[in-house]
Structure formats: structure tokens, C-alpha cells
Amino acid sequence: MLPDLGNHPGFILASYAVSLVLIGGLIAWIRYDFRHQKSLLAELEARRLRRRSAAKDPKA
């Protein structure tokens, strides 16, 4: 159910819509960045572990 938006519904809806889109985008970007950094770090750490294990095994 839509609230009563009086004589200027377009301006009110546009304000809330722009805010929703921009804040939604900001949340998505910040979450993506965190996940991306986390996966990059995990990848780097795994590579370091492999290198350590490879150093122990001279054939590797």
C-alpha cells in the first residue's frame, strides 16, 4: 500500500528511489570489495603454504 504523498508524489518518490539505488549500490560495492580482498588474501596465503611445502620436498 502506497502512503499518501500529497501534491508532489514524483519528487518524494524520486528522492526515496535515488537514495535506495545509491545506498544499495554502495552496500553492494563495499560487500564485493570485502569478498574480493578476502579471496585474494586466501589465494596468496595458499600459495605461500604451497611454496613452503614445496621447499620441504626437493623433488617438487
Partner: protein, 272 residues
């Protein structure tokens, strides 16, 4: 545990890992209540009618645009004076969030101004000083990206942020110092708020909700920045290790060739 102990990034990561689910929950609940009060419960203003509903998001965005900058200024002070490990992480993480809230403050203000003032924009002191704040945010973000070394970038940004803080009292008091189209303060006043509780309470609930949203996003962005710096350090170690191996290999080869027995090959004659 003293507050200063939180300046340890590992402890900060552990603490925010536990805190963030609660913070997200509080943000969602307070935002749902705030928006319900704003859209369905609060009455129309006797002059502005239903457009007063824009105020419930515009004013929190305006407050948060200044709050985020204040967080950055405090963090910048920490960077320059105490060199806290988390200070420039906090300042860097707050900048894009503050810029987004400032942009939303300008856009929602413009959308509110058109039906009420008859214009999208005027160059009055309040609107212009908020536009300057937005440009400062963009400048700070650009400076973070310009200098590659985060420690050097942090110091440069800290100086710029602290110098730019002069704009915050100008924004706050612009409506008192100059004759502006923008209305004067109606909540934070010496003689108390000038609005009735039926409008003030939804506004305060929304302000709390957006502040919680800012804190949530700021903590997540700080966590990302800490990880980004760890990745940078690991890559530097990896590159230094690779360079060290290359140097060692070159040195071993040079030593080996210096100590190798002389060959009896005749020198190659140049073609006549």
C-alpha cells in the same frame, strides 16, 4: 581493554567480526521502523504538505555527510599525532561513504527545493558549502588513489582533511551567518527543537538508522582496507623473495664461472 588497544588491526578484525551481525540487525530494524514512521505515521507539514517526507532522509544524509568528515578528521589527527595503525584505514574507509551521503544530501535537497522554493538550486551559503564538502570528498578519494604508498598517502590526506575541516562549522552556521534561502536549524538549537514530536521522533529514528548504516559500512570498508594492506605486504615480501633468489642465483653463477677451469679453446679469429 583500553580504547587504544583497538588500534591493533587483528583485534579490530576479531571484534568487528562479532559485532557486525548485531550492527546489521540493528540497522535493518531501525531503518524499517524509521521508514514506516516517516511514510505512514508522520503527519503532513502545515506549510510543506507531504513533501516533508523528504526531510526524513535529507536531514540524516546532511548530518552524516558532516559526521563522516568528522570521523575522517579525528582519524587524520590520529595519523599525524599518534600514527595509529587503524587511523588512516578509518579515514580512507569513511571517504567514499561520506561522499555518497553528501551526494544524496544534495540530490534529495534539490528534489525537495524544486516544489518548495520553485528552483532546483541556488548559490546560497548552505548549498554551496555542502557542494564544497562533496568536492573535498572527491579530492580526498583522488589523493588516496594518486599516492601508491599507503603510509605516505595517509599523511598527505590527513593534512588535507584537517585543513578542509574548516568547512564543517561553515556548513553548520552558514544559515545563521548569511541570509540564505535554506531554512535555519530546526533540531539542534539553543532553545530546543522547533518541530512537534510527531515529526521529530520519526526524524530522530531515521537519523539513528542511517548512523547505524554508516557504522556498519564503515567497519566493513575498514576490514577490506586492512585485508588490502595485508595483501600488499605479502606481495612485497613475495617480490622481495623473488628478487633475492634472482640475486643469489646470479651471484652463484658469477662465482662458479670465476672458479671454473680455463678452457683450451683457441680464440676465434675474426673473419678477414
Amino acid at each position: 581493554m583500553a580504547i587504544i588497544d583497538l588500534a591493533n588491526p587483528t583485534r579490530f578484525m576479531r571484534l568487528t567480526d562479532r559485532l557486525l551481525p548485531w550492527l546489521v540487525g540493528a540497522t535493518v530494524v531501525s531503518m524499517a521502523i524509521g521508514l514506516y514512521l516517516a511514510l505512514y505515521v508522520s503527519p503532513e507539514d502545515y506549510q510543506q504538505g507531504a513533501t516533508v517526507k523528504i526531510m526524513y532522509i535529507h536531514v540524516p544524509f546532511a548530518w552524516l555527510s558532516m559526521f563522516a568528515y568528522t570521523v575522517m578528521a579525528i582519524a587524520s589527527f590520529g595519523t599525524l599525532v599518534w600514527k595509529h595503525p587503524l587511523s588512516d584505514v578509518s579515514a580512507k574507509a569513511a571517504a567514499p561513504i561520506g561522499a555518497a551521503f553528501t551526494f544524496l544530501c544534495l540530490v534529495t535537497g534539490s528534489l525537495w527545493g524544486k516544489p518548495m522554493w520553485g528552483t532546483w538550486w541556488v548559490w546560497d551559503a548552505r548549498l554551496t558549502s555542502v557542494l564544497v564538502l562533496f568536492i573535498m570528498y572527491l579530492g580526498i578519494i583522488a589523493l588516496w588513489r594518486t599516492i601508491e604508498d599507503p603510509i605516505r598517502a595517509g599523511k598527505a590526506v590527513a593534512v588535507l582533511t584537517l585543513v578542509g575541516y574548516i568547512n564543517i562549522p561553515i556548513i553548520k552556521f552558514s544559515v545563521n551567518w548569511w541570509n540564505t534561502l535554506h531554512q535555519p536549524a530546526s533540531v539542534v538549537r539553543m532553545d530546543g527543537p522547533s518541530m512537534p514530536p510527531s515529526i521529530l521522533i520519526p526524524l530522530l529514528v531515521n537519523a539513528l538508522a542511517f548512523t547505524l548504516l554508516f557504522m556498519t559500512l564503515h567497519f566493513i570498508a575498514m576490514r577490506s582496507e586492512i585485508l588490502r594492506r595485508r595483501i600488499r605486504t605479502l606481495r612485497q615480501h613475495e617480490a622481495a623473495g623473488a628478487a633475492g633468489v634472482a640475486r643469489a642465483t646470479t651471484s652463484v653463477q658469477a662465482t662458479a664461472s670465476a672458479h671454473s677451469p680455463k678452457t683450451n679453446k683457441a680464440p676465434v679469429e675474426a673473419p678477414s
